[in-house]
Symmetry: C2
Subunit: 119 residues, 2 copies
Amino acid sequence: MNEKVNLADKLALFDEYWKPKIVGRYNDNDVRVGKLKGEFVWHRHDDTDDFFLVLDGHVTIQLRDRDVELDPGEFFVVPRGVEHCPRADEEAAILLIEPRGTLNTGDAGGPMTATAEEI
Amino acid sequence: MNEKVNLADKLALFDEYWKPKIVGRYNDNDVRVGKLKGEFVWHRHDDTDDFFLVLDGHVTIQLRDRDVELDPGEFFVVPRGVEHCPRADEEAAILLIEPRGTLNTGDAGGPMTATAEEI
């Protein structure tokens, strides 16, 4: 992982939605890219903030009290402990930074839970 | 800082080169954006990796044994302890993630040292 990473090249390697892949490491964090379409599950991460940068498409980060609307070149950090549910009506791509080992579904678990693999 | 951040809007707020600004927080890290033109100084960060994502323009991360060439949508993580010197022949813009308080010049100090301010 000591090479540069082209985000578009990495995104071209997979098609699955809601299963971000590890494309780099920064200290104890994973740098991940993911494709989104549809609605995820409501969840929270009690021990970490969640950094979302939109690379392509439009993403809505639903919070319990409001929606945060993100276009490419916009990021939002969901504070730890805050329930959120990402949604993308059309396919979208994001860059995430999360502590190594963070599960995508946080406290919620369930069938959409995926362990991030490295690509 | 509990709002979304548009990176282009933040970059439009300043003109200085080599003085990244804090535009967000993620756990104990700053999310910073910076404008580059010319050559920085050789330095290293003994305690942290350095995440560089190019947003605009072309950036060369010079290492002692090779150059890493980055276009928009490409990132490179300089491992801790590794000497590096960024260069941009034309104006370029980057997103950085660094532990809060990290100095831009690492171990090198000198006149280009700047404490990151929040915008």
